[in-house]
């Protein structure tokens, strides 16, 4: 293992790119690890090499961050899956903290372990999808998944598509589908017209985003796409793949059926907190920020010394607010490492602090639109699979709760819900709500303890040249 870096940044979305750039430009030794083949994250995702996409505002913002990163002196490790974390506070009781340890799996070749004195986590979010009958049918994909398909690959999820769920992604996906030549059969928005009207004032701070949203709505209206406010998906139906989707008003009544060959659905974004959970940082439940979030100070410090979180992984505020949060975290890390004096830090943080505050207003309004809606959880049918990795239905979860499971770790032990390869990232929200209903809230339901590996890794990659014969076996005690 080589000498420790000053700073490791995990995740090369807008927060991670800005954090690494800020710290490296100020002379710190910085490493940035990213699972995807290119930096950008989800909103600012780069198209693969050779894919020429017409420029749009997201692409331009992403390119600016990528260009700054490329010249910053950051060691950029792409295609690296971080599966292990250690060091920091994870030492025997009473021992002084160690540098942080990061275990990563490169695209090809031997596993890599590196050390860093400080660690900034920019893990972003994953999409919340509350189960409904048929949600596991081929042709049903997430809203964020649809944007990746359309933006980065130019591939249509289907020819005739229903778009359903909550938040601005609904209209972004629908508009992109139309532009790419697909038919949008219907849009089912969980929000009422009133919710959008109330969110508008906060969006006037970002006229560019507001104008883009209005242009999407106008394009949909021109094509006569039915937009159903305060509607949810009752079921996706079909034999081998989705053939039609039934939509119903949240207030009830008869459902309406729409023929389609794809359903893009998403119920909001959930901060990815697996790494802060591993380090046993303090968390709080903040429904309007997407769920459990690490407790952070104004400079993105967690409760663990030299551990920081920037971007939506610390609470959903959107891509526009993420770079400023990344810079705040980087400056705080340099200050805490003694690489920046108090005065220089106070001066340098002023601008990103103001930028972050401004951008976070609109981001928070959108996060509220995308917050978990309990009505969707109430509507999950007993026979509907909640955990698709392990095939656990709502009825099985309820049975475990009848049997005395009182929090998420017990539910996992009783049913294997959340124990499959996605490690609870897909089912976690629905399962936690079902537990919360019995025990009196999400705080009591808790969350699954953070465990390694953070992501599935092949045993052969982790073991490397290890052989059982290498384990030293002491000679047996004499008889």
């Amino acid at each position: 293992m080589s000498a420790p870096f000053d700073l490791a940044v995990l995740g090369a979305g807008p927060a991670g790119m800005a954090a690494a750039t800020e710290a490296a430009r100020r002379g710190a030794r910085v490493v940035l690890l990213e699972e995807s083949p290119a930096p950008g994250g989800q909103v600012y995702r780069a198209a693969p090499p050779g894919f020429l996409v017409p420029p749009d505002p997201d692409r331009r913002a992403g390119d600016a961050l990528r260009a700054a990163l490329a010249t910053s002196g950051t060691t950029l490790l792409l295609g690296h899956r971080v599966w292990g974390l250690g060091g920091g506070p994870l030492v025997p009781q009473g021992a002084p903290p160690l540098p942080f340890r990061v275990d990563a799996l490169p695209p090809d070749g031997a596993p890599l372990t590196l050390e860093a004195r400080a660690l900034i986590l920019c893990a972003g979010t994953h999409e919340r999808i509350i189960p409904f009958p048929g949600w596991t049918l081929p042709g049903v994909i997430g809203l964020a998944a649809a944007t990746i398909l359309l933006k980065a690959q130019g591939v249509l999820p289907g020819r005739r598509v229903v778009v359903a769920g909550a938040g601005p992604l609904l209209y972004a996906v629908a508009a992109k589908l139309l532009k790419a030549g697909a038919e949008v059969a219907a849009i089912a928005d969980l929000a009422t017209q009133g919710e959008w009207a109330r969110a508008l004032p906060t969006l006037t701070a970002r006229p560019d985003l507001l104008a883009r949203g209005l242009a999407w709505r106008a394009a949909l209206a021109t094509k006569g796409v039915p937009v159903l406010a305060a509607h949810r998906v009752v079921a996706a139906e079909g034999a081998d793949a989705v053939e039609r989707v039934r939509l119903q008003a949240l207030s009830g009544g008869t459902s309406e059926s729409f023929d389609c060959d794809a359903l893009c659905v998403g119920h909001g974004l959930v901060p990815a907190t697996e790494a802060t959970r591993v380090f046993r940082a303090a968390h709080r439940y903040a429904r309007e920020s997407g769920g459990w979030v690490p407790v952070l100070d104004a400079d993105r410090r967690t409760s663990v010394p030299l551990l920081y979180v920037a971007g939506d992984g610390g609470g959903v505020r959107g891509a526009a607010a993420a770079p400023a949060a990344g810079r705040l975290a980087a400056l705080a890390a340099l200050r805490d490492l003694g690489l920046l004096d108090g005065r220089a830090h106070a001066r340098a943080r002023r601008r990103p602090a103001l930028e972050h505050w401004r951008a976070a207003q609109g981001g928070a309004a959108m996060a509220r639109m995308m917050a978990l809606r309990p009505a969707l959880v109430d509507a999950i049918a007993p026979e509907t699979v909640v955990c698709r990795c392990e095939g656990v239905t709502r009825a099985e979860i309820e049975a475990a709760l009848d049997d005395g499971a009182t929090e998420m770790n017990q539910l996992k032990q009783f049913t294997r819900c959340g124990m499959g390869p996605c490690q609870g990232r897909v089912c976690g929200e629905a399962a936690a709500e079902l537990v919360a209903r019995r025990v009196g809230g999400r705080e009591r339901a808790g969350f699954a303890t953070g465990r390694l590996p953070l992501r599935p890794v092949p045993m052969e990659a982790v073991l490397g040249d290890f052989d059982y014969a290498d384990i030293p076996v002491p000679a047996p005690a004499p008889l």
Partner: protein, 81 residues
């Protein structure tokens, strides 16, 4: 959208073509192959496209991989996981 040249690869023995560098999951969707395997109680298909859900797990040249994170390369042999 301009794309790079198409290359040939195989899925479960059938020859498919896709632009080099496109995500394997996108290439399979574009080819109409959406059912990638069987999970417990439900079929598996690409779902999150960002490496989270593990539903698009396949074998690429014998090794388990998430199709959404693997770029298409000429001659890659993909089989259901």
């Amino acid at each position: 959208m301009a794309r790079p040249a198409e290359v040939a690869f195989s899925f479960d023995g059938a020859t498919l073509r896709a632009p080099v560098g496109e995500s394997l999951a996108a290439a399979l969707i574009a080819a109409g192959l959406r059912r990638l395997g069987e999970g417990p109680g439900s079929p598996r298909a690409a779902f999150c496209m960002m490496g989270t859900c593990q539903q698009c797990l396949v074998r690429v040249d014998g090794r388990l991989a998430q199709a959404c994170l693997v770029p298409v390369r000429a001659g890659m042999a993909v089989t259901p996981a």
